[in-house]
Assembly symmetry: C2
Homo-oligomer: 314 residues x 2
Amino acid sequence: MKPYAFGIDLGGTTCKIGFFNTQGEVLDKWEIPTRKEEDGKYILPDIAASIKEKMAEKGVDIDQVWAAGIGVPGPALENGTVNECVNLGWGVTPVNIVLSELLGGIPVAVANDANAAALGELWKGGARGYKDIVMVTLGTGVGGGIILNSQIVHGTYGAAGEIGHMMMSTTETEQCKCGKCGCLEQYCSASGIVRMARIKLATVTRPSILREKDDVMLTAKDVFDAAKAEDPLALELIEEFGMTLGRALSLISSVVDPQAIVIGGGVSKAGKILIDVVEKYYRKYVFLGSRDTKFVLATLGNDAGMYGAVKMVL
Amino acid sequence: MKPYAFGIDLGGTTCKIGFFNTQGEVLDKWEIPTRKEEDGKYILPDIAASIKEKMAEKGVDIDQVWAAGIGVPGPALENGTVNECVNLGWGVTPVNIVLSELLGGIPVAVANDANAAALGELWKGGARGYKDIVMVTLGTGVGGGIILNSQIVHGTYGAAGEIGHMMMSTTETEQCKCGKCGCLEQYCSASGIVRMARIKLATVTRPSILREKDDVMLTAKDVFDAAKAEDPLALELIEEFGMTLGRALSLISSVVDPQAIVIGGGVSKAGKILIDVVEKYYRKYVFLGSRDTKFVLATLGNDAGMYGAVKMVL
């Protein structure tokens, strides 16, 4: 095995790149902006140029590079093709072939970014020591990644782990950005938590410290902070959040029965109060056989995707 | 590879055994009763004795037998241990070790029966040509099996594919036999379909040909037959059935995004009307990326488990 590899986490705003040795140690990491102009045609050339620049800086030749892995914010097939990526303006794109050509022919592996993050957490983060996990990322939306036998489950259409669009309610009338009504991320993403808080604040008259916040500025963190301060209305919101996410995770366990569930993303910074309420409802709703599933917090933050991306090729 | 192998589908009432060559052709198949007396202690010895008798009849020596696979009606771990099996009276049982010892030391692979059936359908049945499938078995209960990369997903506690206990409703007040309320099989199993029909017949006054049936004798087949005869009340019941099962399958696709969904079990004999209504709601509820999932009917009937069991070792 050649001595070096690259792990790339391509986001809608920035792209994080890690320079690794093939023992899996990160030697350097940096970010470049994601240029989405002209249907994202500059994105992969920008990444390749940045990698080549770093190689020149480090005195590394392409013959010393084993491979690169990349996580992308859209559906990625196991064969390296990205099946349209609205976020970046891409149509169907054979990312492995294009990026490999730009990098002198080294092998390139491709995954969805949430799937790559899950693999990163399994390798170097909160899920070290496990081989079968589900990771849920609670950010602006809700992402998910499924790892079985230490391998990413990509899915037929690159949509495995798209748990943010699990339809949790058949009575919801507000539309998710995917066009359906009742998706998990309408309740459990950062914006979903705020949405539910606003609905409750508007429909009940009880006092709450959340009422002191300007409605426009209300964040998911405010809701969790108020719950930590034992604000009854915020506690109710957190119970409802736990009920929905706990049930969604119980449904996922009926399918793959993982060893552990890893919770990450900005919202997961709420910590123990969040894990506790999700676990409580998970254990209530899950099939008896899976009641001992472990719950852990993600630990790699924004580096998870970069780690998982390189792990695919190591 | 030695020339012969056995596939065993152990049920709560009878046990089906297939004698195969290692090209995968079935040479003989037969059934023996499942003796559940004394915590099921006779079950594995009975199977071994029956296999040895068949070998004597065919003039086959144990040195000519490659291996055996067995599907069991309970949670089976990848390592061959059955994690308690209430149906049979078993506690935690290393079925692979016990049965191997009874069969002169040949390797024995173990799976849950619904998982084995899914593998059987992938190998020789309705899902031939696919490698990633979900099978749902609509019988007295609702069973499920997940196959990824042509391999059974067993799950950490042997509970992968236990989709009958996905909690589909948070408002259900009647209890499932698992102790929870709102499980998929309370709506979509043969008994669940009859339960929902009885509830509707008791709560609405509209006419229906289902009212001509004696309440005690009502079957899921009657409901589908009435729907085929365009009985409006039965059609409503079938829509509700499709809505619940279609949504459950859409949730499963958010996790593993399979190539195909295979529908089997006694209820699936309703055929096209059933597939059509399930597909309709699946496509409505599923994440856009997975909308092209194929739907197929199982074709092996009660032989699926026996085929899948032997496939594990071929």
